[in-house]
Amino acid sequence: MIGFIAQTGRLFIRLCSFIGELIVFCFRVFANILTPPFFMRAFFSSLLQIGWLSLPVVGITSFFTGAALALQIYAGGARFNAEEVVPSIVAIGMVRELGPVLGGLMVAARVASSIAAEIGTMKVTEQIDALSTLSTDPIKYLVVPRLVAAFLTVPVLVGVGDSIGILGGYVVGVTRLEFNNSIYIINSVNYLEFWDILSGLIKGAVFGCIIALMGCFFGMRCEKGARGVGQATKSAVVSASVLILAANYFLTEIFFSS
């Protein structure tokens, strides 16, 4: 019994220590965002890595999601003669939920893992210590550019993903479900409100921060060896994915509960 209590206590202390470490890390990162020096080359490189190179994976995922969504809504709607809602539900579903969440999860898988592995390898090979000895703050050089780039590019990716997802629904709607071309487009646009789109983009910005922070945090606390890098990568992807889903719920609650 005492052993069990001790084990639980140790786990609790480790959890508190982990949360404390994460809070201190986030505080250090946000404190460094507005103060020079700014590493513009690292920032533009991160824009390319996080934004541009994630476009194919987000685009393909969104296209098939929109297409499958159209089929599902059509099949469900047919039960009560409401097949005509397909365009509007696909559009609203994509921009409010599926675009940001699936886009966020795909970027988390691609980017959080790559950031954690890259920074983790730098930690293991003493490159982060080398940065410090060269009078360069690793948070400023490695974390801030990635965080700002993810904050700016993930909403753009979400916007592009939304459009491609709606296009996927349109292609299936017109070619497989025999919708009229122009009626599908009109119904997609007419029921979509500006706030639907904006809320999805805000979610994208929050998810971008989560992805970059998790990748950098686990990379920076990476332990020695290949196992340490693997563990950091896994932890970054899992925690970014879980936090994205949790944040999505809370943001939806805030944006749409009324």
């Binding site: 020096p37 003493e126 490159q127 210590d129 080398a130 410090s132 000895t133 060269l134 009078s135 360069t136």
Partner: protein
């Protein structure tokens, strides 16, 4: 001048440094030797301000590297890491000129590249390597690049962490000779940690032996083979018999 007094450092229950005292005068080259796992690298991390001591005093030219003034002293320090620690994503010349491309010492990129090429040539690397990436070079060449980076901004103090680890004996001697030349030429204060006796003989003015968390012996290079210190004799002989415990 480098001064370390009563330096203690522990990791959880593992007491690595138990009161280390060291003094290196300006322009002198101190080599710290000792068996693996005795805390040599920990001393270096404390000297660089990368690890905070539990207690004790570390001063580099009168400045505590763990204080708010750490960036002042870091701008005067060069460091050669054991594995080179070159930035994989940057070409060689940007690694060497890193300080000239970022931060307070920033200068024009063309000028920085010119300096980087000069430093590369000083350590025996051709200009043509400047645009290569670290992964395209051999271990010995990477050590040279790391050395060029360490001397790039005319430091007053240079630290060398196991400079010859992983190199063949000939390349190891080339690096040892290069380090000695640079230390003399630049007039810097140097601290090297190694367990390679050949490096000690090539680089050192003074030698200290670290074991069990304290300096067991300290003296000038000439006294190295004359000392009756049992730890030192065993270490130099590479014997398994003596006060330094060995696992077999």
């Amino acid at each position: 001048m480098i001064e370390v007094s009563d330096l203690y450092k522990s990791f959880d229950q593992n007491h690595v440094l138990k009161g280390v005292n060291l003094k290196v005068d300006d322009g002198k080259s101190m080599v710290i030797i000792g068996a693996s796992g005795q805390g040599k690298s920990v001393i270096l991390k404390c000297l660089l301000g990368l690890s905070k001591p539990n207690s004790g005093k570390v001063l580099l030219n009168g400045i505590d590297p763990n204080s708010a003034q750490k960036n002042i002293i870091r701008s005067k320090v060069g460091m050669l890491f054991q594995g080179g620690a070159l930035f994989d994503s940057l070409p060689i010349w940007q690694n060497v000129a890193f300080r000239y491309l970022h931060g307070k010492q920033k200068i024009n990129a063309d000028e920085a590249k010119k300096i980087a090429i000069e430093k590369l040539e000083r350590v025996g690397l051709k200009k043509s390597f400047a645009d290569n990436f670290p992964s395209e070079l051999s271990g010995g060449m990477q050590k040279r690049v790391a050395l060029a980076r360490a001397i790039a901004t005319q430091p007053e103090i240079i630290f060398f962490d196991e400079p010859t680890t992983g190199l063949d004996p000939i390349m190891a001697q080339v690096i040892n000779d290069l380090i000695r030349e640079l230390v003399v030429e630049l007039g810097v204060t140097a601290v090297t940690i190694t367990h390679d006796i050949q490096s000690v003989r090539s680089i050192a003015d003074e030698v200290s032996l670290l074991h069990n968390g304290i300096i067991q012996w300290s003296g000038i290079l000439d006294q190295l083979d004359k000392s009756n210190n049992e730890y030192l004799k065993q270490f130099i002989a590479g014997s398994t018999i003596g006060p330094i415990e060995t696992l077999r």
